[in-house]
């Protein structure tokens, strides 16, 4: 397995960033990523990202919440310790709606949050990218592009990034 290195290029505008990405993709590099202080419109298409699984996670969790909410109330109030309130109909009781709804929301919300953390593999305070001092601007005001290449291609790709308009090119150090 030949060692992979990551090369970073800083671009002055979104158009230049996307142009560089498309050129790199045309020359066979697909392990690309952008870094920006705010979400870039259209980056999903340029990077050819698959659809995010987050909506399915949220939907499934909401369903689990609702179903378990109904089952919980039914088992606790009608089976395990039946509470007969004025002989009103028991199953399904309209009085279950609030708790069922809240549980659906609670599960959906928490699984979105923790699902995102799992997708990002957070917490991850260390990332090799943070070794590059100039990369700090990625969360402030700069647009960066990263491309993973084989070790022997580093210099050619660096030159190409510059040719494609990079104001600055950095090589990410190997993981210590």
């Amino acid at each position: 397995m030949s060692a992979e290195r990551v090369v970073l290029g800083k671009y002055p505008s979104v158009d230049a960033l996307y142009g560089a990405a498309r050129a790199l993709q045309a020359s066979g590099h697909s392990a690309l990523d952008f870094y920006s202080p705010y979400p870039l419109p259209g980056s999903d298409e340029v990077l050819k990202l698959r659809r995010s699984p987050v909506p399915f996670v949220a939907g499934a969790a909401a369903l689990v919440g609702v179903v378990s909410g109904v089952l919980m109330q039914w088992w606790m109030n009608d089976v395990d310790y039946a509470i007969n309130v004025a002989n009103r109909s028991v199953v399904p009781s309209p009085t279950w709606m609030p708790v069922t709804f809240e549980l659906g929301v609670l599960l959906a919300g928490t699984s979105i949050f923790f699902g995102l953390m799992a997708l990002f593999r957070f917490p991850r305070p260390y990332d090799p990218l943070f070794e590059v001092e100039a990369f700090r601007s990625a969360t402030i005001d700069a647009l960066w592009l990263s491309v993973a290449v084989k070790a022997e291609q580093v210099s050619t790709v660096s030159d190409e990034l510059r040719r494609l308009g990079a104001a600055e090119v950095e090589l990410v150090p190997e993981e210590a």
Partner: protein, 219 residues
């Protein structure tokens, strides 16, 4: 040029999150478990009394029925703790010079009751009546255990609400014929079918029903 955190920070961050979660979760689980231990329920504690009274001797050797001392059990909410005079019914005649009975004599002559230490304490918001339980065929030993084997009385039932409810939901297995109420050794028939037959007979003849309404015990 170096990153703010070392690569090991990733492990530390994840490990500390897992650790915090385990401590919190483990703590809750620990509390949950603690209240289910005999220790938390006060089950293994032998309650020492001001007089060295031994139930084993009185029940087994002397064959005194429970109701001789706990005279109120069939009529009242409380089973009744015997008065000093009750002790002296016998002990004015036998062992009347024993130094071990000195507190009893002192109580008799001064009129100050013996301060027995309470073993079973129900909270005031719980209504409990001995007579209905005894009258419906619940034996002494069912809740108080083998008192005939205890030097000092020890609680054998947690008196937690789930314990009460277990029997209130399904009283049948705990019923016995009323003439066996104070027996320490009565056992239901060994044959399950016969036991079930007896239980359903008793349910019917003593008119025993499941009672789980809140107001049964909290009135």
């Amino acid at each position: 040029m170096s990153a703010l955190f070392k690569p090991s920070a990733n492990f530390i961050a994840r490990f500390s999150l897992v650790a915090v979660a385990s401590v919190l979760g483990g703590g809750l689980l620990g509390l949950w478990g603690y209240f289910r231990t005999p220790y938390a329920q006060g089950l293994q504690e032998e309650i020492v009394q001001p007089v060295l009274f031994d139930h084993r001797h009185h029940v087994v050797d002397d064959l005194i029925d429970c109701r001789y001392c706990h005279f109120n059990v069939e009529r009242g909410a409380s089973a009744g703790v015997p008065s000093t005079e009750m002790c002296l019914n016998c002990h004015s005649q036998i062992w009347n010079k024993s130094p071990k009975l000195e507190p009893v004599r002192r109580s008799y002559f001064t009129g100050a009751p013996i301060e027995w230490n309470r073993v079973h304490q129900l909270p005031d918001f719980t209504y409990f009546n001995h007579s209905i339980h005894v009258g419906k065929g619940i034996g002494c030993a069912t809740c108080h255990g083998r008192v005939d084997e205890m030097a000092a009385i020890t609680k054998v039932a947690s008196l937690q609400m789930s314990w009460c409810l277990a029997c209130h939901r399904n009283p049948a297995p705990n019923l016995r014929p009323k003439d066996q109420i104070t027996s320490m050794t009565w056992q239901p028939p060994a044959d399950p079918a016969a036991a079930q037959l007896l239980a359903s007979d008793l349910m019917k003849s003593y008119d025993v029903n499941s009672r789980v309404s809140c107001t049964t015990c909290h009135r």
